[in-house]
Amino acid sequence: MKIVVCVKQVPDTTEVKIDPVKGTLIRDGVPSILNPDDANALEAALTMKENNPGSTVSVITMGPPQADYMLRECLAMGADAAYLLSDRVFSGADTCATSATLAAGIRKLGGADIIITGRQAIDGDTAQVGPQVATRLGIPVISYVQKIYQEGDMVYAERKLEDGYERLAVKMPCLLTTVKELNTPRYMTIKGIIEAYEKEIIVWDHNDLCIEPEECGLSASPTKVLRTFVAAPKGKGEILSGTESEMAEALISKLREKHVL
């Protein structure tokens, strides 16, 4: 079985802070990591490989040359091959253009029996690329997968809903997007890390993918960022003082004045 996992290198957004004076992002020392949901996707792929001897797991990403590090991490976890789609013309891609480039990469790989990717990346939180890759490849998609059972060419998946879940069945080829409830990603092994540095990461640009520069990156992105700004904090309110019961009394009378209580 041919398994492809789409991954993304992201800044660890929990470490991103705002400079309160300048109102800009403080990025110094913010580490780049393998997107957390994608780690669950890779874990699912590796488990599937173990259950289906003879299978291969390839990881693919679109990103800058620095994404090499994250791909080696994926190899160290147990992926067999890693592909980096990197080209200046891929830059500025929205989800529409990103999914087109990833789909071209997967086509060049000769397609896949199953494609697994994280539900969403923590830097954008859009959850759009997975379903869009599937649409572009013309294969069915199941998103928010919290449980997988695979038998032969059938995949049975539990798709998480707000108030429960649904059990779905689909025939391969298909694409799944995974949530963190699915599994616990394995750690890299020492042996894996050593081997990861012996493996070659295959880098493809737009010529390798047989796509025109106009078909990727910013020029192929229907959405444009008009502006970015730091969300203005609501004005600082009133700090109450006194003993606990005085503060409690004051709070309640203020809330009553505002007709909240």
Binding site: I142, E166, L218, T223, F229, I252, K254
Partner: protein
Amino acid sequence: MKISISKDLCRGCGKCLKACPFEAIIMRDKKAELNEKCTGCGACVDSCPFEAISGIEEMNDKIDLAEYKGVWVFAEQRDGKLMPVTFELLGEGRQLAEKIGTNLCAVLCGENVSGLAGELIAYGADKVYIMEAPELKNYTNDAYTIAIYNAIQKYKPEIFLFGATHIGRDLAPSLAAKCGTGLTADCTKLEIDPEDKKLLQTRPAFGGNLMATIICPNHRPQMATVRPGVMKKADYDGSRHGIIEKVPIKFESGDLRIQVLEVVKNIRETVSLTDAKIIVSGGRGIGGPEGFSLLKQLADALGGTIASSRACVDAGWIDHSYQVGQTGATVRPALYIACGISGAVQHLAGMQESDVIVAINKNEHAPIFEVADYGIVGDVHKVIPAILEALRRLPEYSN
């Protein structure tokens, strides 16, 4: 826009590196250079004191934008009941439609769902497109994408809004890819540009650290998903009139590849944070899972519900369904009482639209106080009993 940096004008001062929210500018040989991360946002253009950076808007008129008319909202139903976000979309869609001077239409898919059309009209739809088939009874990506794509091709809406639910966030991306148009996820604010009537879509980026306004200038429909609980619900007016149009839909063999075997609802009581008028929310500062029973007492006394920050959910003190914030629910209650919550941006993103915010925290420097209307610096375990005590002295809360 397409950004270019002139090597001749660049003096290597590095101001643009700091201005760029995406780490897309690097220094090479003392000259600024763009890398693959550039999104064309233009934040760097004005930062350059030497006018070395320029941004050029790209024009592309492949499709006739004027052909696309009307604001559509996806009327999401489950088990024949409209999801609350549908009414929020109608409320927002109404305002957008009026600013453009066009119609508001609802798109309803399901089996035997025609009965819901009247409700959609009462909440503001001028027109309801109905697609009914046994295959549309339960949502599947395949069936809904085919049915709605067909309607988009036929009627060409200029704007199409979806709730950012697990269904909306599955359906909208597939439709956008099929239409070859843009989609902006989880919008918290939608506006119409008064000049060119285009949709301005604002959403949090970088885990809520930054807001971005996105446009979709040359493709239609302009598509967006909207977080539940963010937009104001439409008002009900039973006297409204509207048009109901049934759109025939037929599926070919091989169209539907995903089979729904079973839909399982959680048995436990579902928490509806988005509907709550008063929320008493706990963070790490409440000390442990037992802290929520104290919060529950206050919530019960006020007729509200409890909620949680991510820290408590990650610590296993309470279920994820109670979580408010970037990766949980977005709420806008009349009163939000944050107890022992420090106020990480991810949490603030989910609650700062609340009408009145009260913060109780031991640390007077906690960021939560920056958004609070009233702050109490103190221990939750002492302050909440004091509030309960004070409430008991009021006649209407005495029992």
